[in-house]
Symmetry: D2
Subunit: 297 residues, 4 copies
């Protein structure tokens, strides 16, 4: 039976639940963080999207934009008034390129997605009929930046460095913050500054959290983990297990993952607590979405 | 000289400004609304995105999603452990389909976009090099719902109904709210419930604001106008002038427009004031972006 | 064992064969028809491709074209000489829209494609690793037009009309042609003139060949069957069996199918024998390709 | 007046002509070559199309294929019979990637395309309304391979080598062929074997024809020039003039160009004369099309 995995959150919010740990981001959590805001400063955590500026990882196609209507298209008809017209474009975007949010249907283990939803619920034609990005694409909660790189006194953690629970705790202590149920945790490795600062930086290996840190985050009942790297988790995978942290967080615990989050400005301002708002595109059947996450300080 | 249009905001935030009236959505505005939140309830103002559920307007291509990797793709290699794998997709999205935010480069008048930026700054290959969605895609401010349909005692305003300044004022009075500088105003016509409730509803004409209401919004120094219809403005255009309200708000005043906003739930809860957060995809050169706007009550 | 279907061509050209009945279109067949050409007139059998002109069938996305570079993009740099530049575009095409050729991997029965190739050879990520359009996309052979509509004295056969073997024979007799091994047979129903002449013509039902005619074509060892309708076969399917003729011809016999072939001009010229040349796009993994088939009279 | 360029073919086939030198590929030319075929062997001159196998030139996006329907999508409904179903895909193709045919609207000089068609006839929304690939996408004529690389005793001509008229003549002599009005000439440099054989081969510079050879081809009244390189013409452009050969052949003479033609097999067989058939996709408004050109020996 799917629900008997003792480590996970399967069944915790009902048999049919498709929202996972975002159930922990209650209205009370939102109210509390909103009322405690200090600066009102608004941060975008997204990278610009373009073929040249979106990091190329795995073998995903690059994002493309094509103009559909240009100003010149409207110049043809002579009128008494100045010409008026509109422009528009077409976007071709991998759902998991650039700064993006993983749906709970993004990773499976054996025959199941999160909460025991069967992989047979997924079809190529329709995509995910369970746990698609429509279910988890609307997020507002307290965001806690854990700037592990700065805590280590480094601009970026070494390639392949496995962030541990101990490092997360030490970062909390150093910053004077605590992680509470329903929080989104933003783990800063410094890697996105490397990847975007110098296109020749290899995208593999990278620093990121390992299974020990994943367990810590799960025990703290966070609802989402973001990181400024390509997979939230360390590359190569912890212990050599395929998508090890994705399996623990996304599949077992139903914790959403947000990758390629731009955390440099939050870090520069030492804005360790914020109201984090993520509005993913509710594309029916999609397994993720590019996003422009917004943090308010 | 571009800047001498007395009605507009050209030059108000500097000669090179590409952010327009969003300059009015200051940290103070954000702090004030955040601290005054009442429920913490989180609303998504986006429609689901799919070929069948996104309203077909103008001649825009429908949005499409294609699976790039399905669970079956990972079943091939026998291992001791349960198979683990990921799924992903490719999205083909018109930048102005479904619930979307217009960039200030979306409409031009004569040789200029907002603030006198020349149309020659736009190329088919690169798209908008001025006033693209990258400049205005990150929004957080107070959102004021003006539920004009409910104020009129109707589920939806009649097709072609031109909402006036008087109706906006009357709605403010009836709801006991006022519109302040930096606010985003969400004008509810009831039309999106019609369009999505019955696919045979013609998408033309529609109710929406006219030039009189646009002037009122501009005088109140709002930073963004959203509506639950296809163009924010009434269709056919007020006075028969091509894109009349877009020209006044987007081009002259630099006020961002958000179309196909789903306002039914806010209206049902009479949530007239909220923290509105919109994170558009920062696609380099794009003239708009599909969005999942989030309102917090 | 896959190969024991007595009706089919499995195993006939070797266990690993992916080319099917196109093996019958030998150099001798090509030489014979080429040397016997009468007029040298060149016919395109393709429909124009555009969102409005490509028949909408099933739920396939419409084809789209976007300009990537326009002449205005090159006007920026002043030079002594006239500006010189190029234009180009991006095409988004369903592999089976408009006039198109089916790959042998387009249809399966049970666990197998043509020749017993397992469906497990197909993955969402890679597409068809067996029997893709790369294997059957290059065709040259004798094309025999069987103008069944004209033989019946009708502009188009009635909707749902099942073309029989007898009708094919009678058309041969009336036209004074015979069908020989390796021929491509072009079956004219008159339906494409209906579908393209009046956009309100329902695309279902349509006239087309049934199982009896499919058996006749198979016994005559043709290498390809084209028709001026949406599925070569009659809609609804003969005997109510899902893709009945596709299964017999494509899966069992390895006979390629070409749909939406524009046969009106060949018919008007009574050009019943031609050299038919089809060059499908060799897209790795694809299950079909839009084509511009060329017949030479 | 556009038509007074003495070097070109403007006006030669009428003021409104959009077909250019393909007017020279008459039915008589076709009949003559068809009747003179020697082997009936069928050659595909196309490269496989995929992200990894299509040469990356300029900054064109890579071609992509996505599965729309996979066999597993049909497994759901239990029936007495073996499941039957279909697969299909979506193609995203730059019009000028891989083996492709340029439309006459692909290049302009000053305010004009071929035959004086104004660049204002081109819009971003609609693409080319004059001289699109619809006008020149159907080609059948005599194809003459001029294997300049082999004539020079080299596997491939040196990078940047400018092929001259003298080299074309010498190749004719060596091969014992002559170029006649209406012929398509296939100029082999050996470069496509380099580009596809070793992905690290830089795509710039390349060998190709220069202005001298272009003049020779024009004087011989050829209808199309193909080459096994990225631009038919030498890179960098002859004399440093932007698109020099494209301007002479495509714009002035209305001679179609076919790039990335795979000529290795024709060369290996010393098949110097063939029936060349090219069926480009008739995409309304497009400036070119990927093609699978077929030569019959």
């Amino acid at each position: 039976m799917p629900g008997d995995d003792p480590k996970g959150n399967w069944g915790r919010w009902g048999e049919g639940d498709e929202r996972g740990a975002l159930n922990l981001a209650t209205a009370d959590v939102v109210l509390e963080v909103a009322r405690a805001l200090r600066t009102g400063k608004v941060y975008s955590l997204a990278l610009p999207i373009s073929r040249s500026r979106t990091p190329a990882v795995w073998d995903r196609p690059p994002p493309e934009r094509f103009t559909r209507t240009a100003p010149q298209d409207h110049r043809r008809e002579p009128t008494g008034r100045p010409a008026v017209g509109s422009t528009d474009d077409m976007l071709m975007l991998p759902s998991h390129a650039g700064t993006h949010l993983d749906a709970l249907a993004h990773v499976f283990e054996g025959e199941h997605f999160y909460n025991g939803h069967p992989v047979s619920s997924f079809s190529t034609r329709r995509g995910a009929s369970r746990c698609s990005i429509v279910c988890t694409g609307t997020v507002a909660t307290r965001g806690v930046l854990l700037d592990v790189a700065s805590a280590a006194g480094l601009p970026a953690l070494p390639a392949g460095h496995v962030i541990t629970a101990g490092e997360l705790e030490a970062t909390c202590d150093r910053q004077g913050v605590e992680v509470r149920p329903g929080d989104a945790v933003l783990v800063r490795t410094g890697w996105l500054e490397l990847l975007t600062g110098d296109a020749s930086t290899p995208s593999f290996p990278q620093a990121g959290i390992g299974l020990d840190a994943a367990g810590w985050l799960q025990r703290h009942d966070v609802c989402l983990v973001a990181s400024d790297n390509s997979a939230v988790e360390v590359l190569p995978f912890d212990g050599g297990r395929e998508l090890a942290v994705h399996v623990e967080l996304l599949v077992h615990a139903g914790i959403a993952l947000l990758e390629h989050a731009w955390l440099a400005e939050l870090a520069a301002d030492r804005c360790h607590e914020s109201l984090l708002v993520v509005g993913a595109l509710p594309v029916v059947g999609a397994t993720g979405s590019p996003v422009n996450p917004i943090a308010i300080g």
